[in-house]
């Protein structure tokens, strides 16, 4: 008798069964769903740098459910460096979340995939006057509100109070000039330590260039203008701090180490935004001071950036997603985040909770800076521009290439 073997019929039957089972599994639309009990789950992506941060965001998600019991928020976090690659890929793969965390700098790239919120804001009668206007503006595109801000802040100068005291250098005050800035950092550069820490970035460096002579890298209508005479002049000055005056350490590699140099005590001053200040304050082994950026030929100016939450255009549960967004940017969540130092709130009322934990003099410095801050408008290929700035500008800082050449190259490559 021949050995038992599989017949074609049984194989066909088995294949049909497996395919049938696979097809039967529930296909939930990505982003959100409402179950039969009327409870909606909305997915939310956010960047997070560790378990502590993630816990804060989980608490925020829980607050949404407290305020709207029929809505549950499913939080998914990624490291900040990978976040925009991650959501870009998800959007391309039709697996976008409902609530999207968005940084003002990347709005240009992702606004196509997001839903303008103006109609929903009008429908729900949301009071926008409680928000900081610069925060709201930062997340607008072509007059439409693309996301509601949870944090916003101007770029400021941090300084090491202990180092200044040791070098007997007077502490800078709001309104200090570029010349005073140069004098200060020159006085602080000695014995292998530098007075300043610079790194080519799309935010802090551009804020310093704006402060120097009003040079802007991007126009109001999101066009890149890196090679204007003002930009070249400002960039030449900024790079000369490293390779000519030697008051800032050499640039090496493409990781922004300016804050690390500051924290390690190798540099006495560095620019950054409020999103980093409380972390720096907690980690620093010295007293940290804040002051608005030095004033150049164009009057006091700085750039502000912020982040917020928007809704993906592919979201199937838009109403619930909007309610989630309003909770996440509501007074309760922002007060909690401000107290933890997680964000400088975009609502004016909770800002005092942030100041309570901030270094001395923060309120004066921040208010002064906010008055002169303009939102950093970016192009729609800003990820590439920011990468390009980090990749190519080092050569100008190290004196290998002229600043004009580097800016012309960047403009050529990304100005398109």
């Amino acid at each position: 008798m021949p050995a038992p073997t599989l017949s074609r019929r049984s194989l066909a039957a088995a294949t049909a069964a497996v395919t049938g089972l696979a097809a039967c599994s529930p296909q939930s639309p990505p982003g959100g769903r409402t179950d039969s009990a009327g409870r909606t789950t909305v997915s939310w992506t956010m960047w997070s740098g560790g378990t502590e941060e993630r816990t804060s965001w989980e608490r925020a998600a829980a607050t949404v459910t407290e305020e709207h019991p029929e809505i549950g928020v499913e939080l998914q976090t990624t490291a900040f460096q990978d976040y925009f690659t991650n959501i870009g890929t998800r959007i391309a793969g039709d697996a976008a979340p409902c609530v999207l965390s968005m940084q003002s700098l990347r709005l240009g790239t992702f606004e196509e995939a997001m839903l303008p919120l103006d109609d929903l804001i009008a429908e729900h009668g949301l009071d926008l006057s409680a928000f900081d206007t610069t925060g709201l503006e930062a997340l607008q595109s072509q007059g439409r509100q693309m996301a509601l801000p949870y944090d916003n802040g101007p770029i400021l100068m941090l300084y090491n109070r202990d180092a200044l005291a040791a070098a007997e250098v007077p502490e800078p005050q709001a309104g200090w000039t570029i010349d005073e800035f140069e004098e200060t950092i020159r006085a602080l550069t000695s014995g292998g330590r530098f007075g300043y820490s610079a790194f080519p970035t799309g935010d802090t460096m551009l804020a310093m260039l704006l402060s120097f002579n009003g040079a802007t890298a991007v126009t109001e209508d999101r066009r890149l203008t890196l090679d204007t005479p003002e930009m070249i002049e400002a960039f030449s000055w900024y790079t000369s701090l490293v390779h000519e005056l030697g008051v800032a350490p050499e640039i090496s590699g493409n990781t922004d180490v300016a804050l690390d140099q500051f924290l390690a005590g190798n540099a006495a001053m560095t620019p950054t935004g409020p999103w980093a200040i409380l972390n720096v304050n907690a980690q620093a082994a010295f007293e940290v001071g804040l002051v608005p950026l030095p004033v150049g030929t164009h009057g006091p100016a700085t750039l502000s950036a912020g982040s917020g939450f928007g809704i993906a255009a592919s979201c199937p549960v838009i109403e619930e997603a909007f309610l989630a967004v309003t909770s996440l940017t509501g007074p309760a969540v922002l007060e909690a985040l401000a107290a933890e130092g997680r964000a400088f709130p975009s609502r004016t009322a909770p800002q005092s909770a942030w100041y309570a934990n901030a270094p001395e003099g923060s309120e004066a410095a921040l208010s002064a800076a906010l008055e002169t801050a303009t939102p950093l408008v970016t192009t729609d290929n800003w990820s590439q521009v920011a990468d390009g700035i980090a990749q190519y500008c080092g050569q100008a800082f190290n004196g290998e290439k002229s600043p004009g050449d580097v800016l012309a190259l960047l403009q050529d490559e990304f100005g398109g």
Partner: protein
């Protein structure tokens, strides 16, 4: 004695409709189906899709339009891509001889040892199994201004260059780090191959009065030439695909001094979200590796000696 009853045989052809003899082919199909399905879904289908995507302007989100060979011609005429290709070839040309040389040299050295051989094999293999991110962090500390190398050279009065920030040093620094990371793998292969050479061959050679260097050239190397061919081919393929080192160590900088093909591909695909262009870059990489591997295989007749 009764003769055994004749066995019943199934009727021959021409005796009417009947099923063919059952074979195992259906069972074989069933058992191989998971592997075939996996291969189709995760290898063949993406390959075909990659060709399709490369013929379109395919942004991650937005309008997609058919472009024909436009992605390929744009790359061929792009100076940036030309530089990236050159960087990849320069990296390979620097990396392969160093890697093979160091791994072969060390394998030859430890083949003379007795007890220390195993320990040294493990030690030399450690960089291969260490996560590359951790290695990059350490090497950055070594290379940075006021880093380890600068600190070692300072007392000698030598001003260390900015290894990762100076265009003339960045590629070399990356190659050195890659050699340190990768030599252990080939060393292990060569070490095993050297152990397999029968000692009678070595004895015969020394009886013939051959000097150690001649013995190396005429006996040892030809005997391990199949393994050398394998190591060279595999290392060539992986060196064309280098990504982690430029991405983590220099970001392709300074300027585009260390931007390699796969880093360029990644940026095209996930930073610029221009998937059609990225797919085209992938196919250029394929063509390059295929060409080099064909040349390798054609050349093997000259220098690879298989046991007859």
């Amino acid at each position: 004695m009764l003769s055994p009853a004749p066995r019943r045989r199934p009727p021959g052809p021409g005796a009417g409709a009947r099923p063919r003899r059952r074979t195992d082919s259906v069972a074989a199909a069933a058992f191989t189906s998971p592997a075939v399905l996996g291969l189709t879904a995760f290898t063949l289908f993406p390959l075909v899709m990659s060709v399709v995507v490369s013929l379109w302007h395919w942004p991650a989100f937005g309008e997609r339009e058919f472009a024909g060979l436009a992605n390929y011609t744009d790359l061929l005429t792009s100076r940036h891509f030309g530089r990236v290709l050159l960087n990849t070839i320069v990296y390979t040309v620097l990396y392969i001889p160093l890697n093979i040389g160091v791994s072969l040299g060390l394998a030859l050295w430890i083949s003379t040892m007795g007890r220390g051989k195993q320990t040294l094999r493990v030690l030399f293999f450690l960089p291969v199994v260490t996560p590359i991110v951790a290695q990059v962090l350490v090497w950055r500390l070594i290379y940075q201004p006021n880093g380890v190398i600068a600190g070692l050279l300072a007392p000698l009065g030598i001003d260390a260059p900015n290894f990762l920030g100076d265009s003339s040093w960045a590629m070399a620094s990356m190659v050195v780090m890659s050699v340190w990371q990768g030599f252990g793998y080939n060393m292990l292969i060569f070490s095993a191959a050297l152990d397999q050479i029968p000692s009678s061959v070595h004895d015969a050679a020394s009886v013939d009065g051959v000097s150690p260097f001649q013995r190396l050239r005429a006996v040892t190397l030809p005997m391990i030439s199949p393994m050398m061919f394998f190591a060279t081919t595999m290392t060539l393929i992986t060196s064309f695909q280098v990504f982690a080192q430029p991405y983590l160590l220099t970001g392709g900088g300074p300027g585009n001094a260390t931007e390699t093909l796969v880093l360029f591909l990644y940026r095209e695909g996930f930073s610029a979200f221009s998937l059609g262009s990225a797919a085209a870059v992938g196919w250029f990489l394929f063509a390059l590796i295929l060409l080099v591997t064909i040349v390798q295989f054609l050349g093997q007749k000259r220098w690879v000696h298989y046991d007859s």
